[in-house]
Amino acid sequence: MMDVGGTKGRMAAYLRDHHDKVVGRWSDLVVAGVRGRISRAEVRRELEDLYSLVVRVISDADEHARGELRAALDELSRARARDGFSPRETALGVFSLKEAVYELVADSAEMVPEYLLLSRMIDDLGLLTVEAYSAARETIISDQAAAMMELSTPVVRLWDGIIAVPLVGTLDSARTQLVMEKLLDTLVATGADHAVIDITGVATVDTEVAQHLLKTVGAARLLGADCTISGIRPQVAQTIVSLGIEFGDVATKATLADALALALSRAGLKVVPALWSGCRSPRSGKRCSSRFRSTCRTTASCGYRRTWPTSFLPPARAG
């Protein structure tokens, strides 16, 4: 029968006596493992804390030591996970204590039971690190997913009474639900009665995605808002047709600009140049005095010449 209490005591005493040597070697090993991403002084400080906790646990000095050690390891693993270390590097940080001690006791045969005890304990701690590490990683991943979800569904106001939802990425039922809720909430909050769903950033549209889109449009209609789908790319249009998806009487437009134009015309609005007095007389250089196109005297016969940038001009002056 092994004398467990005595073994523990002897190991604790040994570790206490060789404090500087072991911690020094341990720090060397860890610093080599992390390849310069943490400074030696910092590693040394972290390990000093851990080491004193390990000694306290082994010597059974008080019952809080075990909990404190777990908490310290937990914290360390979390920090490593956040800083982007691999689980291997994180766990090696603990396991290299074994190596540091082994190098010291390798020559003395009488230290074998003590060393085995320490080794078993460090194995446990190593597993704990890996567990804490993966838990921290999972938290990071779920946080990022939530943040992405938030970022990916902005509802923007295009005009008084016209709002738009630019969708980017893939649409699944969870996202559709979020988009739908946000769109409807915004419709109610702003009292807008036109909504544009822009799917320029949606790579693929299959039957499921189309189903989701139609649901959103249907819900917006129930609130009394007109809904237009815009940004259908050529390939997407091909897919939609070949899949036999029917958008029914939902208005679809090629670009967001077209959808905005449609929404404006449905709202009874028209976009006109702010000032129509861009015409100058070629002789006197005098400006045409009218502010609006309807009152502009610039006709083929008036002698004034348009100097308005052509891009500003409305479509050809129909009869």
């Binding site: 639900q177 739908m180 809720e181 409807l184 909430d185 419709l187 109610v188 009292g191 009665d193 649901k215 249907g218 819900a219 917006a220 209609r221 129930l222 609130l223 009394g224 808002a225």
Partner: protein, 91 residues
């Protein structure tokens, strides 16, 4: 049911041309309510009156969509004001 009957009586008595149903206060709907709204729309149409449902909450709209009810034959509007605009534009 009571609402349906009262509404039909009132429509035949006054010859009203439009019906506005404000459901701002409705927070939960089921398929029965959804169907009832459609029925009211159909009944009103028999009296040549148009039905406009106003003030639907987002949650209600989502529920109705998930139930597959699109309230055919009934117009919808954001608020009573816009509902009146729809009715006025028609007559």
């Amino acid at each position: 049911m009571r609402l349906q009957e009262d509404l039909a009586d009132e429509l035949s008595a006054t010859g009203a041309r439009g019906v506005i149903i404000d459901i701002t206060g409705v927070e939960i709907v089921d398929s029965f309510i959804g169907r009832m709204l459609t029925t009211i729309g159909s009944v009103s149409r028999l009296f040549d009156a148009e039905t406009v449902i106003v003030g639907m909450r987002p949650a209600v709209a989502i529920t109705l969509t998930e139930l597959g009810l699109s309230l055919n034959g009934v117009r919808t509007a954001m608020n009573a004001e816009k509902g009146l605009e729809i009715l006025n534009g028609r007559s």
